[in-house]
Amino acid sequence: MNWSERISPIVKSVPPSGIRRFFDIAAEMDDVISLGIGEPDFVTPWHIRESCVYGLQKGYTSYTSNYGLLELRQSIAKNIQNNYHVSYNPHNEILVTVGVSEALDLAMRALLSPGDEVLIPEPCYVSYKTCVILSGGIPVPVPTTIENEFRVTPEQLEKYLTPKTKILLIGYPNNPTGAILTEKELLQIADFAKRHDLIVISDEIYAHLTYEGNHICFAGLPEMRDRTILLNGFSKAYAMTGWRLGYALSNPDFIAAMTKIHQYTMLCAPITAQVAAIEALEHGEDEMRKMMASYNCRRRLMIEGFRSMNLPCFEPKGAFYIFPSIKETGLSSMEFAEALLKAEHVALVPGNAFGDSGEGYVRCSYATSLDKLSQALERIQRFINQF
């Protein structure tokens, strides 16, 4: 049977992830130092793991409510209220999902009709555009630049606005750039969304990893709660990537629509992860702060390292990425990443994997031990010296 003929055209139209080929080369080498990993180097704090084990012993192995365990939703509501002063009703305004990835997919499927456009500031997380395409929408990338520290402005968004624009999808602190938006900038975006009556999906998975000032929750801005779908999860703050747990907060009617898809496709998020997540929210603050302090030290080390190599980079103030420009080497992002990997066995991710405006940059994750970061910087320096 010729399977490729039978695969849906929409799936065929999605290009494979730009990271894949790269991964295959790196996986062959045994002394690679990887700055290409988009997840914490910490293992989930022990008290969280231990609570999951205890939960298993107590027999927590069943389905949960489609919305997720009520106790977890109550914890999420309390946490969002305490941190950002926005209140959500745990009974009908919170949906626990399998990672932010599922939440994003559900939101797109519940909102988009064929031809609807979604504004997506770029560079952005790899799945944003694909999620839109798979739901029949049209992703409209809005390029941002290093001159503006990869922050998006209403003027830039305005240029890509059409009568079909329905959603603005933002992710700050940003993967891959580490950019954050200040309150003033967010207010301008909020004003833009209001003027054009757009729905805003705000992916705030890196919220807790903000190194300057406090994270501003988009839903907490005046008049924004009702037009915002707030996405967050446990992967980054609590080093729980593999547990696959996220959540969406929004208007009850919309949460009901997302839940309709979720109940037929996923049923519920794994109960083991949900039990652990309650522990994370209730008692995870101290460990989270320690991890954050550690990232911050490494962040400064990386900025200093790249600047002393004369690779231009702006100061990332969130997440655990730094996004230096490699344009002066004359190589493309992909060429740079491949040559560096082959010559010095350092893996990083070419910036164009995150959209065209990432071309000329590379994403380096500093979620790696200090020793390895120092070694990686030395190797990159040696590599750069050829140019």
């Binding site: 990271i19 988009g38 080390l301 893996a347």
Partner: protein, 159 residues
């Protein structure tokens, strides 16, 4: 200062340059702070944690609970000093509960430790009784898990 101490506690071999970058403070300031912390004996000593068993070097460690009679005016301190001055004593704590002092002894052999307890420790005036526990296995030392089997399971490149 707390930040600096925390970094040094984890690894004192970091360079001033690195510490200065990580804490976003001038090198001179970090250097001066460390000197001052050393002078004030807030930083007492830089220590290395060694897995002696893996190095195949035999050592015997015992934990001894000691009941004592506190002395007028000096309380437990004078007695504690008579005990901690012995080089065999690795650590000494005054504790609440069913005994008073908790002594960590290190020796070459069981005999060594036994001899120390019976000849030196028990015979000190004011020591009422001792209970000796020999250490069988060390799992964690100064915050470090001795035989940590957890590895980095992450893929080389992830989004």
């Amino acid at each position: 200062m707390k930040d600096l101490l925390q970094l040094l506690e984890k690894n004192h071999a970091q360079t001033i340059d690195q510490l200065s970058t990580m804490l976003d403070k001038p090198k001179e300031e970090i250097e001066a702070q460390i000197k001052q912390l050393e002078a004030e004996k807030i930083i007492l000593k830089y220590h290395t944690i060694i897995d002696w068993e893996k190095a195949n070097i035999d050592k015997v460690t015992a934990i001894i609970e000691v009941k004592v009679t506190p002395q007028r005016e000096v309380g437990f301190d004078a007695l504690a000093e008579r005990i901690y001055r012995f080089p065999e004593v690795r650590s000494l704590y005054l504790t609440s509960g069913s005994y008073d002092l908790l002594v960590f002894i290190e020796g070459q052999s069981l005999k060594d430790v036994g001899k120390f307890v019976s000849e030196k420790l028990s015979t000190i005036d004011g020591v009422i009784s001792t209970t000796t526990h020999f250490m069988l296995k060390n799992y964690k030392e100064a915050g470090v898990i001795i035989d940590d089997i957890e590895k980095d399971h992450r893929l080389v490149v992830t989004p």
